[in-house]
C-alpha cells in the first residue's frame, strides 16, 4: 500500500514537474540535489551538536567535550558506534513494513526539503501548487509513524502508533486552515510567490494568531516537547522506536534533525520572509533564520512538561481550531477585502 501511494505521488509530481519552468536540465537537478543533500547533512549534524551543547548549557553541564574540539566529533563517534552494531528485527514484528517505514520517512523528509525553494531561482517546488503538495506529503509522516509503531509488534509501539493518529486528528485541520489563510494573503499557493509577497512585511506580523497555531501544530508534527507524545521517553520508553535496533536508530536520529530542518525551513518560508535579507547569499539568511527557530525549539524542549493526549485533543479542537478560524476571518477582513 505504501509503495503504491508513494509511486502514485511520484508520478503525479513528475507530471507536475514537466510543466515547471525553472529546472529543465537533469544535470542541474542532480547538482542541486547534491548541494541540498550536503546542506541537510551538515545542518542535521551540527543541529545535533548544537542541541547537545545548548541543553547542556541550560542544565549547567559541559556537554560533549572529549572527541574533537568542543566535542564537535562526538556525534560522528556515536554514529560510528551505532552503525557498527548488528541490525535485527524482533520476532513479533512485521518485518517488511518495519524495515521500510523508517527509511521511507527519511526519504520523504529529504524529498520535502528538495521541494522547498531555498533561493528565488532554485527548488523544484517552484510550481503553482507547491504549498499544497508539501503539506499533502507532510501528512504522510504520522501515518508512517503509525505503520512503524504497529509493525514493531511492541505494545509500547502500538500505544505510540495510536497516539500518533489521534494527535494527527487534533492538529492537522487547524494547520491546514492557517495554510489556507496564507494562500489567501499571497493570492497564490506558489512558495516563491509566498516568499516574495513577504518582501515588505513578514506574515508573522500580519497573522500572529495564525503563527501561534501553526507553531503548535509544527511542534506536534516534529515530535518536539511538549508534544513529544509519540516518543515520550518517560512513559513509552521510546514509543515507536522502542524495538528499533542500532543502525536504524541512527536513521531515526538523523530523521529527527532532518525533520527539524524541514520544519524550521517551512516556518521560515511561510512566516519569516524566507530568504529575504540584506547582503550575503539568500541561502545564508534562510539557514540562519531556520537555525534561530531551531534553537528556540530546543530551549522549549528543555523547559516544557509533556502534554497529555486528551489535553492535546482538547487543545486542538477547542483552542487551535477557533483561533485558526478567527485568524482566517480577521486576515480576510483586514488584508484581503
Amino acid at each position: 500500500m505504501l509503495t503504491f501511494s508513494t509511486s502514485a505521488i511520484a508520478n503525479w509530481l513528475v507530471s507536475l514537474l514537466s510543466s515547471a519552468s525553472i529546472v529543465k536540465q537533469a544535470e542541474g537537478l542532480a547538482a542541486y540535489a547534491i548541494g541540498v543533500a550536503i546542506l541537510i547533512m551538515a545542518f542535521a549534524y551540527f543541529l545535533g551538536w548544537i542541541e547537545r551543547k545548548i541543553i547542556a548549557k541550560v542544565q549547567a553541564r559541559h556537554g560533549p567535550t572529549v572527541v574533537g574540539k568542543y566535542g564537535l566529533l562526538q556525534n560522528l563517534a556515536d554514529f560510528m558506534k551505532l552503525l557498527a552494531k548488528s541490525n535485527f528485527f524482533p520476532k513479533s514484528s512485521d518485518k517488511l513494513l518495519f524495515a521500510v517505514a523508517l527509511p521511507a520517512m527519511l526519504a520523504l523528509s529529504i524529498f520535502l526539503i528538495l521541494l522547498l525553494p531555498l533561493t528565488p531561482s532554485t527548488g523544484i517546488g517552484n510550481m503553482a501548487n507547491g504549498l499544497l503538495i508539501v503539506f499533502a506529503l507532510f501528512a504522510f509522516m504520522p501515518l508512517l509513524i503509525f505503520i512503524n509503531g504497529i509493525a514493531s509488534g511492541n505494545k509500547f509501539g502500538e500505544i505510540s502508533a495510536q497516539r500518533s493518529v489521534i494527535m494527527m486528528m487534533s492538529y492537522e485541520i487547524p494547520m491546514l486552515i492557517v495554510i489556507a489563510s496564507i494562500g489567501m494573503l499571497a493570492r497564490s499557493y506558489d512558495l516563491v510567490n509566498i516568499v516574495e509577497s513577504q518582501a515588505h512585511i513578514w506574515y508573522i506580523f500580519l497573522m500572529p494568531l495564525g503563527f501561534f497555531v501553526f507553531f503548535v501544530a509544527m511542534l506536534a508534527e516534529l515530535e518536539r516537547s511538549p508534544f513529544d507524545l509519540r516518543e515520550a521517553d518517560s512513559e513509552l520508553i521510546a514509543g515507536w522506536l522502542t524495538d528499533v535496533s542500532a543502525p536504524y536508530y541512527t536513521l531515526a536520529l538523523f530523521l529527527d534533525y532532518t525533520k527539524m530542518f524541514l520544519g524550521s525551513l517551512i516556518v521560515v518560508i511561510l512566516f519569516f520572509g524566507g530568504w529575504s535579507g540584506y547582503g550575503l547569499l539568500p541561502v545564508f539568511w534562510l539557514v540562519v533564520k531556520a537555525l534561530i527557530f531551531a534553537i528556540f525549539v530546543m530551549l522549549l524542549r528543555a523547559t516544557a512538561v509533556r502534554m497529555k493526549l486528551d489535553r492535546l485533543l482538547r487543545l486542538g479542537w477547542l483552542a487551535l481550531m477557533p483561533l485558526a478560524l478567527i485568524n482566517l476571518i480577521v486576515a480576510y477582513l483586514l488584508f484581503v477585502m
Partner: protein
C-alpha cells in the same frame, strides 16, 4: 477489552527495578499490580548475623537517597537498647544534619518528578546542582558523599567543622532562593498544573486505611508527622510545624514536599541560634557490644519518604530480631488504589509524586 502492558523492570521512569503490570482499557488504567523484590537483600536477616556497629553500613543502604535518616534510626534503636542518652549538642547537630539530608532528598525528588512528567532533565540537573552543595556540607562533616556513617551511640562521630555554620547558612540562603524559583518555574507552567492537579487523588480515609506515610499522608490532610507527634532530638524546642495539604492529589503531595523544604530551612536556621556548646562526640566503636538494658525497642523516625519504624529485640552482641517498616514499601502498595481510573500518562505523575526508592521498598 483490556490489554496488559509491562512497565519495567527496565524503564526510564520507574526509578530502579520496579515492575508494574498495568491493565489498560484504551488509555484508562483498570488496575496496577506492582511486582517488587528485584533489589531484595534481606537486610533484616543480615542484621541478625552482624554485631551492632557493623550493621550501620548496611542500614544506610536501605535508602540511598537519604542514607543518614536510616543511619540515625538504627543508631537511635541501639541507643535505646543500651540506655544511652544523646548529648545535648549532638541532638542539635543531628537535627541539623537530618534536615539537610531531607532537603537534599526532596531536591532529588523534585528533579525526578519533573523528569517523569516529560521534562528533558532540566530541573533534574538544576536540583542536582543544588543538592550537591548540601552533600558537600555533609561530606565536610562526615567524610563521605553519600554513605556517611556519622552517627555513634550518644552523639556523632566528630563535632561540626569550624566553618560549618557559616557555610550552611550561605547554602541555605542560596537554596531558599532556588526553591522559590523552581516553584514559580513549575507552577507558571500550565501543563504542569494540569498534569498534577486532580490526578491520583487519595482521600483522607483511604490514606489512613491503607497506611500511607510521610508527605503522602500529609498531602491527604492527615496532620501526622513523627517529628511533632513523637518529638525526638531538638524538634520540639525548635517549634517544628508539620506541613499539611488537604486535597490529596499529586499536586498536594508536591506542595507538601516544597513546604517541607522551606520548613527544614527554617528549622536549621533556628537550630544554629540555639545550639549549645559542649561535647558532641559519641562512643567509639569498640565500646559498643552492649549490655542490653531494654530488650525490646521500638523507634519511629521521620525519613524524607515517611515514617521509618524499627522494632528491635536486642541480644547481647547482635540484634536478635530487627524489623524495619520502610515508608516506600507501604506507599508503593497504594498505587493500585490511586492510579485506578486515570490515564496511562498520569501513572508516571503519580509514581513521581509518591517518591519511591526501590531499595527502600525491597529492603
Amino acid at each position: 477489552m483490556t490489554t496488559k502492558i509491562n512497565i519495567g523492570p527496565i524503564h526510564p521512569s520507574t526509578h530502579g527495578v520496579l515492575r508494574l503490570v498495568v491493565e489498560l482499557d484504551g488509555d484508562t488504567i483498570v488496575g496496577v499490580e506492582p511486582h517488587i523484590g528485584f533489589l531484595h537483600r534481606g537486610v533484616e536477616k543480615l542484621a541478625e548475623n552482624r554485631m551492632y556497629m557493623q550493621n550501620i553500613g548496611y542500614m544506610e543502604k536501605i535508602d540511598y537517597v537519604a542514607p543518614m535518616a536510616y543511619d540515625d534510626a538504627y543508631v537511635a534503636a541501639v541507643e535505646e537498647a543500651m540506655g544511652v542518652e544523646v548529648k545535648e549538642r549532638a541532638k542539635y547537630i543531628r537535627t541539623i544534619l537530618l534536615e539537610l539530608q531531607r532537603i537534599a532528598s526532596h531536591l532529588l525528588w523534585l528533579g525526578t518528578m519533573a523528569n517523569d512528567l516529560g521534562q528533558f532533565y532540566t530541573l533534574f540537573m538544576w536540583t542536582f546542582r543544588d543538592r550537591d552543595k548540601i552533600l558537600r556540607l555533609l561530606q565536610e562533616h562526615a567524610g563521605a558523599r553519600m554513605f556517611y556513617l556519622n552517627m555513634r551511640p550518644g552523639g556523632v562521630v566528630r563535632d561540626l567543622p569550624p566553618d560549618f555554620e557559616e557555610n550552611t547558612l550561605q547554602v541555605l540562603d542560596y537554596i531558599e532562593k532556588r526553591i522559590t524559583e523552581y516553584e514559580h518555574y513549575l507552577e507558571s507552567n500550565q501543563v504542569f498544573i494540569e498534569r498534577t492537579k486532580g490526578i491520583g487523588v487519595l482521600s483522607r480515609e483511604m490514606a489512613i486505611e491503607l497506611g500511607a506515610t510521610g508527605p503522602v499522608l500529609r498531602g491527604s490532610g492527615v496532620n501526622y508527622d513523627t517529628r511533632s507527634n513523637k518529638p525526638y532530638y531538638a524538634y520540639s524546642e525548635l517549634g517544628f510545624r508539620p506541613q499539611v495539604m488537604f486535597v490529596g492529589d499529586s499536586f498536594a503531595r508536591y506542595k507538601v514536599r516544597m513546604l517541607e523544604m522551606k520548613e527544614s530551612i527554617r528549622i536549621i536556621r533556628e537550630a544554629f541560634k540555639k545550639i549549645p556548646e559542649g561535647d558532641a562526640v559519641g562512643m567509639p566503636i569498640r565500646l559498643i557490644m552492649p549490655q542490653a538494658k531494654n530488650r525490646i525497642v521500638t523507634v519511629s523516625r521521620e525519613t524524607p519518604r515517611g515514617e521509618a519504624f524499627i522494632y528491635m529485640i536486642a541480644d547481647k552482641e547482635r540484634p536478635y530480631r530487627l524489623s524495619i517498616r520502610t515508608p516506600s514499601f507501604i506507599n508503593l502498595s497504594l498505587i493500585d488504589e490511586i492510579a485506578k481510573g486515570s490515564r496511562l500518562a498520569d501513572l508516571f505523575a503519580i509514581l513521581g509524586s509518591l517518591d519511591l526508592v526501590m531499595a527502600d521498598v525491597d529492603l
